[in-house]
């Protein structure tokens, strides 16, 4: 199972926030935000909660686990 997110969409919905701006708000580097959006890095619970506070949405609306069948289809 893979962790997916819609951070990029939420950034644009919140005044076209840049990765750097989001990174500054939650106290990480821009590369960390980039890696999370690309699915290359799984954030810690604390970081996920900070992101949810910025966008004022529950963590479950920002991060989702993709089902196994979708993973297999993507790999094929």
């Amino acid at each position: 199972m893979k962790l997916q997110n819609n951070i990029r969409k939420l950034r644009f919905e919140h005044g076209e926030m840049s990765q750097q701006q989001l990174a500054d708000l939650i106290g990480v580097s821009r590369m960390t935000i980039y890696s999370i959006e690309k699915g290359n890095y799984v954030p810690s619970t604390v970081l996920a909660l900070r992101i949810s506070q910025v966008f004022k949405k529950p963590v479950e609306e920002i991060f989702t686990l993709s089902p196994e069948k979708e993973d297999q289809k993507n790999e094929e």
Binding site: Q20, Q21, A23, G27, V28, S29, R30, M31, T32, S35, Y41, P43, S44, L47
Partner: protein, 292 residues
């Protein structure tokens, strides 16, 4: 976000001061080069004393070197204040530090030439002096161009410092490996001096890395207070450390085995330094690869 309007004015004033300072520093280095060329022709073993004009001209050289050195410090301070985290910028910081170190070497070389020209062949010393001087000129001219083009503010300073450290670590590792092989090849110095020469080159290769590490720690100690890396950077560092350790273990085993069998024909210090620098290369390469 900070207001750029208030910050632009000081940055613009600094840019306008850099150009004349850089031109003066470049002119000083060109002056030194001209004096060296004339001096080399005049300093022959049978020389009683220097012509008065040349003697007076050579008295200016220390001040010219001082001006060049001050510009190096000014340039380095500006580069560190505006870190970008790009590889070429990190490479240039290393070149500025190296050029600054070689300025001190210029003084040593001039002193050696002055003491030895009557009895020994000092052609190699002159060659090194010319090489270093041309290197200083390249750094100064490039520095002026860089200062003119740089942005007024750098974003993501801690991230920029993080990448700069690893770029410089990678280059230092490569220089260290090259230095170790150069020392042990016997091409630069006789083999009986190879170990000392190799250690000297290793220290020189590490100076830029130590400098930038100390700067990173001091610069962001106030801002971050407790941490200088975010969670992903810390995770990448741990992973890179593991990879470096795993890649080094087989090599350690081979070295120890060869040493026990008395099959090592080079001193152990060679292998230890080689291993250290290759681990540095592996460590920083892994981190940079994970952040492409």
């Amino acid at each position: 976000m900070k207001n750029n309007a208030a910050g632009n004015a000081p940055a613009m004033r600094k840019k306008s001061a850099a150009l004349p300072f850089g031109v003066v520093a470049a002119a000083c280095v060109v002056y030194c080069l001209a004096v060296y060329i004339v001096l080399q022709k005049e300093l022959v073993p049978g020389l009683a004393e220097l012509p008065p004009g040349l003697f007076a001209a050579s008295l200016v050289v220390p001040f010219a070197l001082l001006a060049a050195g001050l510009f190096h410090i000014f340039l380095l301070a500006d580069l560190l204040k505006r870190l970008t985290g790009r590889f070429l910028d990190s490479l240039f910081i290393l070149l500025v530090i190296a050029s600054g170190i070689f300025l001190l070497s210029d003084i040593t070389l001039l002193s050696d030439i002055g003491k030895e020209y009557r009895l020994f062949d000092v052609t190699n010393e002159w060659a090194m002096l010319y090489g270093f001087t041309i290197f200083h000129l390249f750094v100064i001219i490039t520095g002026v161009v860089v200062l003119k083009k740089r942005r007024a503010h750098a974003e993501g300073k801690n991230e920029a410092a993080y990448f700069t450290v690893h770029h410089i670590a990678l280059i230092s590792g490569l220089l260290g490996v090259a230095g170790v092989f150069l020392a042990m090849s016997g091409a630069a110095v006789p083999l009986r001096y190879a170990t000392g020469f190799m250690v000297t080159l290793a220290v020189l290769a590490l100076i830029p890395l130590l400098f930038i590490l100390i700067y990173w720690r001091l610069r962001f100690l106030k801002e971050r207070k407790k941490i200088t890396m975010d969670e992903k950077q810390a995770s990448d560092t741990a992973f890179a450390g593991l990879v470096a350790l795993l890649s080094a273990l087989p090599v350690y085993i081979v070295i120890c085995t060869l040493d026990l069998l008395k099959a090592l024909y080079l001193p152990v210090s060679f292998f230890i330094l080689l291993l250290f620098f290759t681990q540095l290369i592996v460590f920083s390469s892994v981190i940079l690869a994970k952040n492409k």
